[in-house]
Symmetry: C2
Subunit: 628 residues, 2 copies
């Protein structure tokens, strides 16, 4: 019966008639799990007559379907016209960027924000403007350049800035986001006993007073879209939570975000928290409830889905699940789970995400944040769609449905053997331009010329230039910080004999050449020491990694380094309020690993030097008084 619909999931199919057939084929016992006040897992009755196979077929779609989306309802801050629509709030640029070593430049953040808009996220949390001048400028630039591009359907992402519950932070956040067509301020204060006692040193009533006043202050600035988060909600006392949430609703909050700050809840527990808030908070019907789940026990995706099912209509997520400690719920997992299961099991929930851009966005965030994704990461890991390659791999290809539930096309992933344009040494400028466009890059002028020249060099030495090669060249050429120092030449000798020696020639901002040589424990150590002799800026190398971007011994090597400078590059942690030293990543690509390594180091140094000399915060922001 059901087998008639169990075809290759990549081929779209209609629901089997048996899907709606409620008559049991044989008498079966219904089972309810014990209903107790501590039951953390569901006792719903999931019909035993329901065809599992039919449920799976819908998960995948044809390439044409992948880009089709249901209509996105119009944006009203505190209300969603369609009760089944779930807003996706991406905080890669704020919570994600807060991860150790994930510091990004303003330009990198802008690139990611543009990509997030392609993906169709409803809200981009662009940063914590009060953290530093650099953070302020990045949020402002994103508000101006991404927050004003309205598409044919009227879509433009909301641009959101985080602020602590004080007037200065809120004022600074507003100065940064107000340039967007749809600006939002997101303010928060801790509400759990442990945080109020140890971090805030304030009473419940003081905390309520601050929250109410600051939400009101944000609205008074002209911001009509204000999100409030009770930090550590998962460990807060329930009645206090309802009270403070009710007060901020009265003060004008439009979205209430419920964070599981320490990532300790089980799915049913978090779902119940959302359901309880929905049932007990006065005025809750006038605002949107949001989830924000940390991943400390590996449950963030399940918790987010449980929250949405229980009534949350905004989910806070990051690309690749990055974030402090074990990170956040990842956009790709939550969105694909809703896509696969929303209709059948989540009461019709859907999002406005164009999943076709997931792979590209994931790779960009991986590159910029330097936080690599493990090969077995769900949806976007290198192995997520890979099968042990071998003699009869085509057997798998013939019936992908046996082990594959999501089509790679759905997330914009092309298998290497199905790629479109193949580049080789005879390919010209037009072919390269087509390939760049296929990969989602729009590169013109001198940058294109540079990439073309480097592409030809690679093509001379490799039979086939792959997509990964091209991506590495683009990263190396385009996604680089403003140049202070530039590598002219490097030469190194090394080996088991020891006495590694490297000579480097750098060009400074005025075009003057500097040469130095050094010995070291290896060619990279020697070369870095030679660079230090010229640049003379103290920096500690925290991480160094390299990988070949494609198969083959002659592949391009991509190097990434992470450095930390002295005390002059600090920012403020939003939650702890503490100053911390920024760390800076740099990347370099090349067929010679020593050259690639030196490029990466110089890129990181340039990023650090650029940050130290960053622009000042706008005048208005500086005038803002500090309160609370």
């Amino acid at each position: 019966m059901a087998s008639s619909v169990i075809t290759n999931p990549r081929i779209p199919t209609t629901r089997s008639p048996s899907f709606h057939n409620k008559e049991p084929s044989a008498p079966l016992r219904r089972v309810y799990l014990p209903q107790t006040s501590r039951t953390p897992f569901p006792d719903f009755y999931f019909s035993t007559r329901y065809s599992y196979a039919a449920a799976v077929v819908k998960c995948s779609s044809s390439p044409e379907q992948a880009t089709q989306r249901r209509h996105r309802p119009p944006y009203v801050p505190n209300r969603i016209p369609d009760p089944n629509y779930v807003r996706v709030f991406d905080t890669t640029l704020r919570d994600g960027e807060q991860s150790p070593g994930a510091t990004m430049t303003s330009k990198e953040k802008l690139d990611i924000a543009r990509q997030l808009a392609k993906l169709g996220v409803d809200i981009i949390e662009a940063g914590f403007p009060a953290a530093s001048n650099d953070d302020f400028e990045a949020v402002k630039m994103i508000a101006q350049e991404v927050g004003n591009v309205v598409d044919d359907e009227g879509y433009v992402p909301v641009i959101c800035g985080l602020s602590r519950c004080n007037e200065r932070d809120i004022k600074v956040a507003w100065e940064a986001v107000k340039h967007a067509k749809r600006p939002r301020i997101h303010t928060f204060i801790a509400t759990s006993p442990i945080h109020m006692e140890y971090k805030l040193k304030k009473s419940k009533q003081e905390v309520i007073e601050i929250a109410r006043n600051m939400v009101r202050y944000a609205r008074s600035l002209g911001c009509e879209d204000v999100e409030f988060s009770p930090e550590d909600a998962g460990r807060s006392e329930r009645d206090f939570l309802y009270e403070i949430l009710g007060e901020v609703i009265k003060a004008g909050a439009t979205t209430l975000n419920i964070p599981d700050t320490v990532g300790i809840t089980l799915p049913a527990e978090f779902g119940q928290l959302i359901a309880d808030i929905k049932a007990n908070t006065p005025g809750i019907e006038n605002v949107i409830i949001s989830t924000h789940c940390q991943n400390d026990l590996g449950l963030s995706t399940a918790n987010t889905l449980a929250g949405a099912y229980a009534g949350a209509r905004q989910v806070e997520v990051t690309i690749n699940g990055i974030g402090e400690r074990a990170g956040n719920a990842s956009l790709e997992e939550v969105v694909m789970a809703i896509k696969c299961k929303g209709d059948q099991l989540l009461g019709g929930l859907y999002t406005g995400i164009n999943t076709y851009h997931i792979t590209m966005t994931s790779k960009m965030v991986e590159d910029y944040s330097g936080l690599h994704v493990q090969p077995h990461k769900a949806i976007v890991g290198a192995n997520a769609f890979a099968h042990e390659s071998g003699i009869h791999q085509d057997g798998m290809l013939k019936n992908k449905g046996t082990y594959e539930i999501i089509s790679p096309d759905d997330i914009g992933l092309e298998r290497s053997n199905e790629a479109g344009i193949v580049l080789g040494k005879l390919s010209g400028r037009h072919a390269l331009k087509m390939k760049l466009s296929e990969l989602g890059y729009d590169i013109q002028g001198e940058q294109f010329d540079n990439i073309f020249w480097r592409f030809k060099t690679v093509a001379e030495q490799k039979k086939r230039v792959t997509d990964a090669d091209i991506r590495a060249l683009v990263s190396d050429e385009v996604f680089q910080p403003a140049t202070v120092w530039k590598l002219c030449d490097v030469q190194a000798t090394c080996g088991t004999l020891g006495l590694s020696t490297a000579t480097v020639k750098l060009i400074d901002a005025e075009g003057k050449e500097h040469i130095a040589c050094s010995i070291g424990t290896g060619p990279v150590d020697s070369a870095y020491k030679a660079v230090d002799l010229i640049v003379k800026v103290p920096a500690t190398l925290l991480e160094y990694s390299m990988s070949a971007v494609t198969e083959g011994i002659d592949a391009i090597a991509a190097t990434r380094v992470l450095i930390r400078g002295e005390d002059n590059q600090t920012a403020t942690n939003a939650y702890t309020g503490e100053q911390f030293n920024r760390t800076f990543s740099g990347t370099g690509a090349g067929m010679d690993i020593v050259v690639s390594s030196v490029k990466a180091y110089i890129s990181a140094l340039n990023k650090m030097l650029g940050y130290a000399n960053g622009p000042a915060i706008g005048v208005e922001a500086k005038k803002a008084s500090v309160s609370a």
Copy 2:
């Protein structure tokens, strides 16, 4: 009220009296989510009076508590004397090793099996003996050497071998595992319409017949512990599932494993599947139900917990969550969630795992499988317990409870600034031996001498030799395949000028020296080409990566390569039955990246050459007839 117990979670505390206080402090509405036949998330009532803070306090424990475990009930194949005890079945060596590129040598598998026994896993699935001679020998060796070490409490891990539903596979599996004190055969056959139609090309009745006969055959060999899995159970028709499971119970199966093979279920859906099986399968009360959740939607941990809550008393997991595609539920997440929440929210569930060994096991599996863990991986990622470092980091340290729910001590992770013995250039053999022992290594004789000699070389050039440095040296020295080729010397020149050249001198198994030089696109490419000129075994480089193991420009670099040889190194995929080419990883460590890279390549070549010349399957196994 509750705030009296909200102290630092690292300090053990008793439950607050409020925990048991069922009187509400204020009238609150109870809320039940809508109860429909498609409800995928819970509608249980989670008491609003329950103190969340109190729930969290128990999650962490003192170092002394971390090694304390509840009593493990005695092992009976089909019955657990304590209804709350959950068996942990680790399949890192079988399902995990099946990941692309994760091939391990027998020696590596044995090391991991020993570590899994330290961790206290109840069952080690040691491999798929019929896959190849090498797999057979690995399982046999583990059965002999790990499956016979009984500790003071009577604990010895069950050693399990996978087999398809045919007599030859089962016979071979039995020949491998029978040497263990507690041997188990795990056999499986697909039961979903899509798999039966496209892969097996068999009818339901034929599939039942095969399953019944093969379980009976396994028992007839003398194996008293037989596990059966209906592959792709998540997409199988329910009544057919109950029928086949009932039949294999009658035939003598002792554990029924329910795999969500394609990782498509939501937690409540999977929990319901387990509950339904428990309610509808004849004879189910006489066997153990097991979960096996793939992670394609990032829900494997939640699904596993839902399954256990619904009645499963065995959970199949892997270290770091490795496995094909997006991997499996990870041991560390499932075990820590049960440890944190078992008492309060999962009806008292507990495991026998000594969580103190989690970190070490995770690192060993990462090293051997070559599948790196992302920095934001829950529990074992590099950032899982890291906070953005900076000026006032000690603020966080003063009250870890604000952002940390599990103590690093619980999983055997020491913060670098809390490490015990600090090694430097003046440290002697005794200090190194102490440090190795602290890190869990027991290394003697020549291997110790070699490590000591290399440690002194590193200490000459670095101020402080860290734990990571020592681990890298041990990996490089001890965890290496049998030597066929050995690196004697390498010398390379490279740089932006091009014309990279490398000369290598290798020593073969007979001690003869071979020298070759080559040019290439960089120093590593040149050196690898020179090695190829000597070794003359065709190999494709699939992956190349390198990272510094510690901070600082003079750190040790660890290189990993993955190569694939020709058709003579094949194995059989358990599920598809297809032959595939094995891939081989190699690692090398050194302060010179070129030297480190060449070592890694030679290590991979040696592994590949060793595999090709591997021992033959035991005589009995060869005689086994092929059936079904």
